[in-house]
Amino acid sequence: MTPASDRPKGTPVPPAVKQQSVKQEREAQRQAKVAAFKQAQKRKNRNKRIGVWAAVVGGVAVIAVLVTSVVLTLPKNATYSGGGTGTGTDIAGVALFENTSEHVEGTVDYPQNPPAGGPHNQYWLNCGIYTEEQVDENAVHSLEHGAIWVTYDPSISDAELTKLKELLPKTYVVLSPQSDLPSPIVLSGWNSQLQVNNASDARIADFFEEFWKSNNVPEPGAACTGAIDGPGKV
């Protein structure tokens, strides 16, 4: 790019002194430009380095905050399918039904034994411990209010019955003997049922956790007192 090389042939060569000073001037200009360039390059490199480090540190910090906030607030594993689903499908042997809930007079032919929902008498059976068989149509009304009806074969031992009583919540439970049961002990809620052979069965507690005062009965929270006491109430 030196202008000298572009000069057409035959043009007089300028005096050496003058040429020298132009050369020097150009060289000085170039040096100044090189110095500026180097300085700019240094500055650019420094800025780039700062930028890269800031991006790395900032990125790591943002990811750390994100991970921390998610990990700390992960939902805890529920021990119960709860929240009103009340399906109990994780409890082995639970049977589920779909029954209607109208009030009727007289006897009802229930599809389940013992009944686990369906048409029922206007008077619900007050919850509690009974030593005699109860009227289905009254007990079913208690199921509609969220109670669990625990029926046992009268032939089970006293020790077994005592053990069973210890497993029961203090309210919203009817306990009564019943003949012709499909198993020694049957737990019935509204549209749910579990048959067990003895009071040591761990599924009894699971059943109460899932279905006692369930949100899926037609009238959760309605009373299990204040109506009628059946025969043999303790």
């Binding site: 430009k33 360039f37 943002v62 994100l66 929270g221």
Partner: protein
């Protein structure tokens, strides 16, 4: 610079000593141009980064802010209170409905109406807390276990004898709830009629309210849950006022009856 290169040197050009004319020309061109298109790209990139960072921080703050208000667990004081107070309140409804059927006194019948509707509504609130918290209505722990939990200030509920029931409740898991009427006492009220039934009811309900206040006072130092705290406060205030009212009504009727178990 290249000698100690590291992650921070990524994309950094080494500063060379032999600068070529091409580099200088490019440098000149860069200095003379206004660089507006490049600036726009940089600003756009920074805006995107700022939006992403703001979104992440907003999300994180939102998530972390829930840590101060954790959803109660199944063995928490809040859940235990919700279960036991439902039992307590449901009996309050039962007693109030019993007396309404056994007296013509407008004063007592209106009080009973007030108690029954209030406690039925509150029982429903407690029921729904458990539903909303995803907790079962039934606990595998004995009743009243929550009242033996240490308070948030660290006092345990096991200490027996004297002291403030709010922080040192003298309860044992599985004990009957304070103020709960026994089956025999309910049978007595059920069999009674007229003025006698009123006296039995008022005597039982004063004790019932005192028990509920004890339970509410036991909840207060064991929770930071806003709904639970305002519930406890409401129970204490309204039931203390009703105890005063019932004490006056009972005095007018000859005072409390002696209760057997």
């Amino acid at each position: 610079m290249t000698a100690n290169s590291s992650i921070g040197d990524a994309g950094v050009d080494p500063v060379d000593d032999d600068v070529t004319d091409e580099e200088l020309a490019a440098f000149d061109a860069e200095r003379s141009s206004d660089g507006s298109s490049r600036t726009r790209v940089v600003i756009a990139a920074m805006a995107v980064v700022a939006i992403v960072v703001a979104a992440v921080i907003g999300f994180s703050v939102g998530r972390l802010s829930t840590l101060g208000h954790p959803i109660p667990t199944t063995e928490s004081a809040e859940a235990g209170f919700s279960r036991d107070m439902q039992v307590h309140h449901n009996q309050g409804v039962e007693l109030a409905m019993l007396i309404r059927d056994r007296t013509d006194s407008v004063d007592v019948r209106t009080l009973a109406y007030d108690i029954a509707t209030t406690q039925a509504q509150q029982s429903g609130q407690l029921y729904d807390w458990l539903v909303q918290w995803g907790l079962p209505q039934n606990s595998r722990q004995p009743d009243m276990t929550w009242m033996t939990l240490p308070t948030l200030a660290g006092a345990t509920g096991h200490a027996h004898g004297g002291g403030d029931p709010a922080s040192t409740g003298s309860h044992t898991p599985g004990d009957p709830m304070p103020g709960l009427a026994t089956p025999g006492q309910i049978a007595w009220l059920t069999a009674a009629d007229g003025p006698e039934a009123e006296r039995v009811f008022l005597t039982l309900m004063i004790a019932h309210h005192q028990g509920a206040i004890e339970m509410a006072e036991a909840l207060e130092p064991r929770t930071t849950n806003a709904a639970a705290l305002s519930f406890a406060k409401a129970v204490i205030a309204s039931q203390e006022a009703e105890i005063d009212l019932m004490t006056g009504m009972l005095d007018d009727r000859g005072g409390p009856v002696a209760l057997a178990d």
